[in-house]
Symmetry: C2
Subunit: 240 residues, 2 copies
């Protein structure tokens, strides 16, 4: 029952994920929204790293301790942190309290999304290995963090995008799952570049953030648009 | 796979728990620490209510969706919210950054505690029904919220108490589990009274908060002290 009996290497990376998410929350509270975006984006790297390490070390998560650590870290980094950042970044929006409502929506849809994910992972009729049911939760951090750092942040657009992201998380829209190491490294480099430019690379500042924002937006939109197109034409491959 | 297929009445109360926890976080960010304490304490009521409703409605949580919703809400209300409140309430403490470290400790020990709880709840060698392994997590909100509202809040004491609470959460010390309806109602009334006095009952202001703080402190300390006493006398009933 000693707690360290359960803790695997991957769980230490989950702890880093949660810590970066919580430091992002501290940064918002201190008014450092750029740093908050950076920490939230770096948490995404640790989140994809812990799954990768778990597969590499072949530690079998018999007790589901690792799965619990993973989702409890995710709710901090990808629900509370982006919700609070959105609330704070949109605090001067013309319609009062809309920022509170959308922030709450992100938190509530986040815990619903994580709970369903864990149930589906346990069930025997698991959806195929290469897809997610509903938009995966780290997208909240990727899209909001990159948008905030892109130099083209707008409160109205941010609120609309994040409300849409929250609803797509609890939808039944299928999203492709990419596990390749090359993509993970490429994504990691792009995230780190997004966190750097405003301090170091002033000549190409905002470019990595803009790229990251555009890639993420395409990922968010393409599947629902394909389903919609499929439904319009009745015989499309994505009709349910 | 539609998410509403899984959601039971108890889960709606978990959502209220998470929402109050998140509003507590928003209040800290706005600098309203008294309101933040109130919302955090009220989240404790919803947390005990969701377990009670789940037992009364006899909804069987076959898929563990409810258990996931419960712990994901708890991490917001009883790890992130108290961690952030402590950080903010102790921001002018003489030793710099100690507030960040203790806040991080609460978050990390919180996710470890919740993960172990879920593993033990699943396992066949469940500890007896009437005890918890390690200090239960809502104590973080009860002790910090009541201390902050008691009129005798001190930064140094708060940091020491919360570091101790964090470590006791991941310890193997057994804590008694009280499920009685009368105790739940009594506790709920005391929590509500704690949240009211500073605005309404100025004559007895701080009294409910002081009572709640003292009861919680006794609960936190009595079990480790008994174990320590038992170990000293080698034949004590709590020796392992």
């Amino acid at each position: 029952m000693n707690i360290w009996h359960y803790v695997a290497v991957a769980d230490l990376i989950s702890i880093l994920n949660a810590s970066f998410g919580f430091i992002s929350v501290l940064m918002v509270t201190g008014g450092y929204l750029i740093l908050a975006s950076d920490f939230m984006l770096l948490a995404v790297i640790f989140d994809s790293l812990d799954g990768w390490v778990a597969r590499r070390t072949e530690e079998v998560d018999v007790t589901s301790f690792g799965k619990n650590m993973d989702s409890l870290s995710d709710v901090i980094s990808f629900s509370v942190a982006p919700g609070l950042l959105l609330y704070s970044a949109c605090s001067s929006f013309s319609v009062p309290n809309i920022n509170i409502l959308v922030a709450l929506l992100i938190v509530i849809c986040g815990i619903l999304r994580l709970s369903r994910f864990n149930v589906l992972a346990d069930s025997t009729d698991v959806p195929s290995e290469d897809k997610f049911v509903g938009l995966p939760i780290p997208i909240t951090a990727l899209i909001l963090g990159s948008f905030y750092l892109s130099g083209m942040f707008r409160m109205d657009l941010a609120l609309i995008i994040m409300a849409l992201v929250a609803v797509l998380m609890i939808s039944t829209v299928d999203y492709p799952k990419y596990k390749g190491v090359k993509l993970m490294i490429g994504g990691g480099v792009l995230i780190i570049a997004t966190c750097l430019p405003q301090y170091i690379l002033s000549s190409i500042a905002y470019l990595p953030a803009k790229l990251l924002f555009i890639f993420t937006t395409i990922y968010v939109l393409i599947m629902p648009l394909m389903e919609f197109y499929g439904k319009l034409h009745k015989s499309g491959p994505n009709v349910r």
